[in-house]
């Protein structure tokens, strides 16, 4: 149903649906409503969808003030400006004050493509993960996004939506049941656990095909909520397979790999290999090129899986 549909369109349509039913929902943009798909909401909800200009710090604190008044604001920008630029506003106005505000950051990591290094957030998960009380959610596809948004509105607190805004691969079908705090076991396996989030889920599923051909049974788990991470799912899978690969469109420092390692190192240490950005900035290029250059392809995942399996004691 969502094949070739832009994720931003699903975002806007779902928020529109929710705004019709809940007068508390507000959408505030900082001159990227066109990019994020939320511009048309202003025609339908002229009072509740508006722009505050290129002033993200103000946008975050304005949202906090509106939340203190009983509204549920969504604020939006590119990931870089929705997180690292307004880290203190998220920490104090939103998280410390426990305001019910949702943050939409689009174009995560290498998906900023031709906007290049300045716009590629390789650190946004890490920045927000260290702030208490911030839920970090990264959808793998449109079905997951559409099912998540009502739950995100229902949840009383700060939620960061790390949004790939173009058409995403179809991962889930319509009867998929979403739980904001539970990871999805997409495919069970016994030799290696592959944890993936966002655009890397598709790569992980392709890696599974490569591994299958070599007789390796991979367990593929989508961790859509990176904080709080579903510890039970991580531990259960690691206990079963004894080796892990973590795949993320983010610096391997501070993101999903770190979150998984934090869980396993405390309770069930196993070898963990990382697929992601190896602690450097981004650059101008299309995603396919960068996936190759940064070793984030299905082939890289399959190779990492074999390395991790060889490290088992």
């Amino acid at each position: 149903m969502y094949e070739n549909v832009e994720m931003r369109q699903v975002l806007a349509d779902t928020i529109s649906f929710l705004m019709e039913r809940d007068e508390r929902i507000i959408v505030i943009d900082a001159d990227l409503a066109k990019a994020n798909g939320t511009l048309a909401l202003r025609n339908k909800f002229p009072e509740r969808a508006f722009d505050v200009g290129i002033a993200e710090q103000n946008m975050a604190s304005v949202a906090a003030g509106m939340a203190a008044y009983g509204f549920i604001p969504f604020i939006g920008s590119f990931t870089a400006f929705a997180t690292r630029r307004i880290c203190d506003q998220i920490a104090i106005s939103l998280a410390y004050a426990k305001r019910n505000v949702k943050i939409i950051g689009s174009d995560p990591g290498i998906s900023a493509e031709l906007n290049g290094g300045t716009h590629m957030s390789m650190e946004d998960i890490g920045v927000l993960r260290s702030i208490p009380g911030v839920v970090i959610f990264e959808p793998a596809d449109a079905v997951q996004l559409a099912k998540a948004l009502p739950k995100i509105v229902e949840y009383d607190g700060v939620v960061y939506i790390r949004l790939y805004r173009k058409p995403a691969a179809v991962i889930f079908n319509d009867d998929y049941e979403f739980d904001l705090f539970k990871a999805d076991v997409i495919k069970e396996g016994s030799n290696i656990s592959i944890f993936a989030t966002g655009i890397m889920v598709e790569e992980a599923l392709q890696a599974d095909e490569i591994l299958k051909a070599e007789g390796i049974e991979a367990e593929i788990i989508n961790i859509h909520t990176i904080k709080p991470i579903d510890k039970d799912a991580v531990l259960k899978s690691a206990r079963k397979t004894g080796a892990v690969v973590v795949c993320e469109n983010h610096n391997i420092i501070g993101g999903l790999k770190s979150a998984v390692a934090e869980v396993l190192s405390e309770e069930y240490p196993v070898p963990i290999k990382s697929i992601g950005v190896k602690d450097h900035f981004g650059e101008v290029a299309k995603m396919d090129y960068l996936k190759n250059k940064y070793h984030m392809t299905a082939e890289d995942i399959a190779a990492a899986a074999k390395d991790a399996i060889n490290m088992k004691r």
């Binding site: 002033a55 710090q57 304005v62 003030g65 203190a68 008044y69 203190d88 506003q89 106005s93 004050a97």
Partner: protein, 274 residues
Amino acid sequence: MCNNEFQTLKEKSRYIRRLTVDSIGKLGVGHLGGCLSVIEALVVLYYKEMNIDPKNPNMESRDRFVLSKGHAGPALYSVLADKGYFDISELDTLNRPETKLPSHCDMLRTKGVDMTAGSLGQGISCAAGMAKASKIKRDNANIYCIIGDGESQEGQVWEAAMMAAHFKLNNLIVFTDYNKLQIDGTVEEILGLGELDKKWEAFGWNVINIADGHDEAQIYDAIQQAKKSQSKPTMILLNTIKGNGVSFVEAMGAGNHNMPISEEQRIQALKELE
């Protein structure tokens, strides 16, 4: 405002100043200077102007107040205690472990505090958000906020200024506690604000410059004028004295931002404020 009422407010300011010096003095250290420069503005707002109910702190359509210079929390706590939001004995717990009264305002801990603030520049944006929210709800509330002059060096203050003017938030009334001092020296020598009234005017605000920011009557009159604004938010510039009312605090100048206070000094200050 009649003379009697004016005298009552003056006495109230003196009392709130005493409570504030006493609570910080008993602790031995605190943001004395910046607390003492906002007392009169707080007193006019909480005893004369704002539509609030201490028995129902979360009353819908109440007026809101955001202390964007959150370090003046102890002055606000004195007012809230006296208004009955919590027991006056709580003031002696200021900044002690597990207190409900932390140095910087925290809406989750303190009854009557409408917004958390302390990281400078954010409170005025929160107040602008509340003013926008009030417009959407059409509840006719006024949103008040106090920012510091040093705080006005934060870029976010000017982001909020542009936004509030753009959305014609005439229900937003902000005060600048213009005491001319900040932590490292005078505002002028650290990063001068230039012609502050003209800056706010240029940002599209209705600006009222008060010669004596410690005069309740002038503050009250300015608020009445502000409430008549048809489309612009209002900035009331309060020319104040950091540490006002206590001679040795005033005399310290920029040193009074966060200062130690001895038991003898506490007693001396209370005597001055009798």
